[in-house]
């Protein structure tokens, strides 16, 4: 067996987040949110921020590692890494980079973070582009020149056709997407951090909600929020000295399928969230099977992305989606496949996957607001439908 693995080499020992806000409602600028989340994660780990010697992030996070290091007076910055690619596809990849740096002796204590005050910058829901409102229409070139003139601009509009094709190929019904949305809202009702706590969602409300772009209704789409979240990683050797039980990284994988980024939707394997290659390597490193996974946090940019992610991680065959994706099956604590137990991006906060990693850790610790009994293996899937994507698996002490 090759020793080139991250399995049980590194653990998450602290997690933290700011208060989560609706889009545009954070009283703090984005950089201050990042600092507050890092402080919260350090407090959770019981360390001083001065012990941090590395930062990892993704999605072109605007809050530079070197600015953070200067602002916090970090004595020696040893690691700073950024996963290429937009969207949240890099969330688990950033954890992998941090873990690899620790396992490889490049750093001791690395923080993975994401700060995202969408209200202070360009909104993703408008395609993340500056359109020059009120002035002459700008010229657009490159990849975006192919879809945008036809009104396929926003992420929802760029991904709906993949999901439509998948649903048609495999006979997946709208009710499968609805169950994913209902599960997130159901779990949010018990989570004090969740922005949609106190606003439960039922089938009739989902069915009556307006189309954004078929097959996505309003409740199939993530929120747009302000906030920040962070986690602290150290080596497995050090991890036992912390107050929380270690949440070990069992495996992580990132990447893209063959020519998945070929422009104008020409990827040979089209109706996919892009986890075909990534999921295989994730399971190989973690040495677990889908049936070993106790709880899944699957990034909801759109419910359709979750549908494809879960199928590509082997939790059901595409043809079984209608039976697998029911509110009963997806609900904690007793469902067969408890999903997005914090409320996720639909109903807790759209923190680009970092809140989903934190929820995975809390399930290992036994601290979730929708706790499942005896969680030893927790999976987090990042940023479906974008390129590259990533996912990770955490394990309790019992997996050693």
């Amino acid at each position: 067996m090759s020793d080139r693995t991250l399995r049980h080499k590194v653990a998450i020992v602290g997690v933290g987040e700011t208060q989560y806000f609706k889009h545009g409602q954070s009283p703090d600028p984005e950089f201050k949110l990042a600092l507050k989340a890092i402080f919260a994660a350090c407090a959770s780990a019981g360390i001083s921020p001065h012990e941090i010697d590395g930062f990892a992030s993704y999605s072109d996070d605007r809050n530079d590692a070197v600015r953070l290091a200067a602002a916090l007076g970090i004595p020696e910055l040893r690691h700073s890494s950024m996963q290429w690619g937009g969207g949240g596809g890099g969330a688990a990849a950033a954890v992998a980079h941090a873990a690899a740096a620790i396992a490889g002796g490049l750093a001791e204590c690395v923080v993975v973070f994401r700060a995202l005050a969408q209200g202070q910058f360009v909104r993703y829901g408008q395609g993340g582009m500056a359109f020059g409102y009120g002035s002459a229409a700008p010229v657009i070139s490159g990849e975006m020149a192919f879809p945008v003139p036809y009104g396929a601009i926003s992420p929802a509009q760029r991904f709906a056709m993949k999901v439509r094709r998948f649903m048609e190929e495999h006979g997946v019904e709208q009710a499968a997407l609805r169950a994913i949305a209902l599960a997130s809202y159901h779990h949010a009702q018990a989570n004090p951090r969740a922005l949609m706590r106190g606003r439960p969602l039922n089938e009739a409300q989902y069915d009556a909600s307006r189309w954004i772009v078929e097959p996505f209704r309003l409740f199939d789409c993530c929120m747009e929020n302000d906030g920040a979240a962070a986690i602290v990683l150290v080596s497995a050797e050090r991890a036992r000295d912390f107050s929380h039980p270690p949440a070990y990284l069992l495996g992580a994988a990132a990447g893209a399928d063959y020519r998945h980024a070929a422009s104008s939707h020409t990827a040979p394997n089209y109706a996919t969230a892009d986890f075909r290659t990534v999921a295989r390597r994730l399971y190989e490193m973690a040495r677990v099977e889908p049936s070993d996974v106790d709880v899944v946090q699957a990034y909801e940019n759109f419910t359709g992305g979750v549908l494809l992610s879960l199928a590509e991680h082997g939790f059901f065959r595409p043809e079984e989606a209608n039976d697998a994706l029911t509110l009963e099956n997806l609900s904690a604590p007793d469902g067969k496949l408890p999903l997005n137990t914090s409320g996720g991006h639909l109903a807790e906060c759209y923190m680009h996957g970092m809140n989903l990693i934190i929820e995975s850790v809390r399930q290992i610790w036994g601290h979730s607001s929708n706790q499942i009994e005896g969680v030893d293996v927790a999976m987090m899937i990042a940023g479906p439908l974008v390129t590259p994507v990533s996912s990770l698996i955490l394990g309790s002490e019992a997996t050693r």
Binding site: F131, A137, V139, M144, Y150, G151, Q157, W211, S264
Partner: protein
């Protein structure tokens, strides 16, 4: 191949054009001339889309642009109800289709499906291309739209 006069979507969206390095210029110039041009490797003959400076199969740098027929099948589709650009506020709902060309079948193009935006759309349906020329635009450009015959 036919043309239609009224644009499917209102004016005001970003105007498509070639990159600074000119990679996709033959494609956009071709549409203005009513021709659909797709990249093809001069060395191994494989079709390539989107445009790139190298053949993804044989790694040859010698790539040509060949005219193909604007005919194909609907590979997927979406009906947009929520406008994300001010120019589209009065244009919803509208239909976007992904069309797999009849030849080469490895190429898919995004366009709008002309006709009733509330029409029933079927994956696999045959469609024919129609050039949509925006000659009054500054700079001028052309799009390729699709219709079920």
């Amino acid at each position: 191949m036919t043309q239609h006069s009224e644009p499917y979507l209102p004016a005001g969206l970003p105007i498509p054009g070639p990159e600074r390095d000119g990679l996709s210029k033959p494609y956009w110039e071709g549409l203005k001339a009513g021709r659909l041009l797709i990249q093809r490797c001069c060395t191994c003959g494989i079709w390539q889309w989107g445009p790139e400076w190298i053949c993804h199969s044989c790694h040859g740098f010698d790539l040509a642009w060949e005219e193909v027929k604007a005919e194909g099948r609907i590979y997927s589709w979406e009906r947009v109800w929520h406008a994300v650009h001010p120019a589209l506020k009065t244009a919803v709902p509208y239909l976007v289709v992904l069309v797999e060309l009849r030849e080469p079948t490895t190429v898919r193009l995004i366009g709008n499906l002309l006709g009733d935006p509330r029409q029933r759309v079927s994956i696999g349906a045959e469609v024919a291309g129609e050039f949509e020329h925006h000659t009054e635009s500054e700079p001028p450009f052309s799009l390729l739209q699709w219709r079920v015959p």
